[in-house]
């Protein structure tokens, strides 16, 4: 399937309508659906909510566009609802967290691999190893708090093992701000990749901030507090890659193109026909929204939006296991650190970040505590076949 972004009309904005019944359709099966269907649902909720948030920010600094922004935002809010409500009620917040980290790992890996700008690709690999570690910590929490196996959610697509340890991911804010791409020189895919990651990470931060207090267990509350803080760092990192000199309409146009690209990728890989029909419908909606914003750009800025859009969409995001790539990145880059806007070797770790991290960890490290000696095994660490069967936990008290 190829799409001509500049000429596709999509569904006109005024025909993008919903009923409450449509918004709340049957959820996927936690047990039977493919893990990547869940991954796509989570990412697309993030993309819709991220776009919605961007458009809200625009409305706060631009009077004349407020009605246009409100019209598109309303549809986006309903799209996000219809997508996010596909998650089933038997999927606990902690199980959903496992899936969020799977999204972060597999999607970031795919974007890192198809990113032509080496600086951005390096940043993606840098963030990837941190989210990879979060999956390991949350898997330990799921096992040790509830006796459940994270692989029931991951379906063996994504590894559960330490990445760059969360305890060393804490950095001074100055060391999370990167250099932006150049809006005039960057390839369209570079812009779409960066927006995808900003939105994915932003929803992850929001999710952890909302569900952290739902847990009774103090270590679970601590772990969510710790990892939500890293997600704030990641949003800072990824959003700083966006060129701040893009005009407001340029940003809006890219926003819509990003949504088109993401639904296009979902359509390419979806295996559940009912969910695929939703992706197809929303791809048409996004093409309609893109068309609408193209018209606004021509009208208000007198610019040809074709200058900013690729003639055809790049290769879709690959919804598949990136095990080999992640292992390679782990092997080569786990010891890297960030200092200023550079990714640096361990020995050049910044003093401000070291001081910040030392203080944050000075009363204990939730991520180290939860995974003390933890090694994932099929069926949890309590499984009789687990190599490092940890039955001594209580006996040690």
């Amino acid at each position: 399937m190829t799409l001509d972004l500049r000429n596709e009309k999509g569904t006109p904005l005024d025909r993008q309508r919903f009923t409450w019944r449509e918004l709340v359709s049957p959820p996927i099966s936690k047990l039977d659906d493919d893990a990547f269907t869940r991954v796509r649902i989570i990412l697309m909720n993030g993309i819709e909510l991220g776009s919605n948030r961007t458009l809200h920010s625009m409305a706060r600094i631009n009077g004349p566009l407020r009605r246009e922004l409100a019209r598109v935002r309303r549809v986006e809010q309903h799209q996000a609802t219809m997508v996010n409500w596909l998650l089933p009620a038997d999927q606990s917040p902690l199980e959903t967290t496992i899936a969020y980290e799977q999204v972060a790992i597999e999607v970031t890996a795919s974007l890192a691999l198809n990113e032509p700008d080496p600086y951005l690709a390096q940043n993606y690999r840098f963030g990837l190893l941190e989210d990879f570690d979060h999956l390991y910590r949350y898997s330990a929490l799921l096992d040790r708090l509830t006796g459940k196996d994270a692989n029931n959610i991951l379906q063996s697509y994504t590894d559960v093992r330490p990445g760059r340890p969360t305890i060393v991911e804490h950095r001074h804010p100055d060391d999370d701000v990167r250099r932006p791409y150049d809006r005039r020189a960057a390839a369209p895919i570079t812009k779409l990749n960066a927006l995808t990651l900003v939105y994915g990470e932003q929803q992850t931060q929001d999710y952890y901030m909302n569900i952290g207090p739902l847990f009774a267990d103090p270590l679970a509350r601590q772990l969510y507090a710790e990892i939500a803080s890293i997600e704030e760092q990641h949003v800072t990192q990824y959003e700083s890659l966006l060129d701040p000199d893009e005009t407001l309409l340029e940003k809006w146009l890219l926003n819509e193109a990003c949504e088109v690209y993401n639904y296009y990728s979902c359509v390419a890989y979806e295996t559940n026909p009912r969910i695929k029909a939703i992706w197809e419908r929303f791809l048409d909606y996004e093409l309609g929204q893109l068309r609408h914003v193209m018209g606004l750009m021509q009208q208000l800025e007198g610019r040809d939006p074709a200058e900013l859009l690729p003639a055809t969409l790049p290769e879709p995001i690959k919804y598949e296991s990136h095990r080999d790539f992640v292992r390679e990145v782990l092997r080569d880059e786990v010891d890297l650190r960030a200092c200023g806007d550079e990714i640096v070797p361990l020995e050049r770790d910044g003093r401000a970040s070291i001081a910040y991290r030392d203080h944050m960890n000075s009363q204990g490290s939730p991520s180290e505590t939860v995974a003390a000696g933890y090694r994932w095994a099929p069926g949890t660490e309590q499984s009789p076949e687990a190599p490092a069967r940890s039955q001594k936990g209580m006996a040690a008290q």
Binding site: D32, Q155, P218, T369
Partner: protein
């Protein structure tokens, strides 16, 4: 109704490693390379729990007596060497549980209407009768709180705890994907704890000299015993029937 009360079919469950042997083999090879970043075991979790528990405040308190009668009754009970707030907390717990129980059975009845029943399963009228009992038990406890000079609208600490403990039951009965048989499994959990709790409450009332209340609570307990017996019977009948079902579903 797509599946009636057939709860289990063989399909495409992907959660176990057995459904993805090649991926799992690669996963195990990769996981073997990654060593934990800190030594220890799950006992580390307990240390944090104990540390926080030692500094924790309770969930909350009982409200002061709601009326002058309540103040007087409290004073009398204290003079008798009793702790009236403990009893009121437990009455408040049952009150809240019964009030939620009626909502639970409303959802169960919807499942009856959506999925139907089975040989040896409940009739609609039987479910409605249990629901009506839950409502009347709530009303009984509401009156009891008023007679004791307490505020029946307050959420007592034990009421709060019991609601947290049974959160999953409401999730099970209101999920459209669960059938009547599955919702009755949740109702069975509720009935089991309800039975024990009524027994304790009746004993408490008797031991504190609230003879009239003790008699009323005993009648409620008898009704709850009948609920428990009925739900058990329906659940067992369903399990035996489905386990031996000779249809196409293995």
């Amino acid at each position: 109704m797509k599946n009636g009360n057939v709860s289990i079919r063989v399909g495409t469950n992907r959660t176990g490693v057995g459904t993805s042997p090649l991926l799992t083999q690669a996963m195990l090879a990769s996981v073997a390379e990654g060593l934990p970043s800190s030594p220890g075991n799950s006992g580390a979790v307990a240390a944090v729990r104990i540390d926080y528990a030692r500094q924790a405040e309770p969930l909350g308190t009982m409200p002061p007596p709601a009326t002058l009668k309540g103040v007087f009754k409290t004073a009398v009970e204290v003079l008798k060497g009793n702790k009236p707030s403990f009893f009121l907390d437990k009455v408040g717990e049952r009150l809240a549980f019964e009030r939620t129980g009626s909502r639970l059975y409303e959802a169960v009845i919807s499942k009856f209407d959506a999925y139907g029943t089975w040989d040896g399963g409940p009739g609609r009228a039987e479910l409605v009768a249990i629901w009506a009992d839950e409502v009347s038990h709530f009303e009984l406890l509401n009156q009891a709180m008023l007679r004791l000079g307490a505020d029946p609208t307050a959420m007592t600490p034990s009421a709060d705890l019991a609601a947290v403990a049974s959160m999953g039951l409401l999730q099970v009965v209101t999920d459209p994907r669960t059938n009547l048989a599955q919702t009755l499994q949740a109702a069975l959990i509720a009935e089991l704890t309800d039975n024990d709790s009524w027994l304790t409450l009746t004993d408490l009332a008797a031991s504190l000299g609230h003879d009239e209340l003790a008699a009323e609570f005993q009648r409620a307990h008898r009704a709850e015993e009948m609920h428990l017996a009925a739900v058990r019977q329906w659940v067992t009948a369903h399990a035996l029937a489905e386990a031996k079902r000779g249809d196409a579903s293995p």
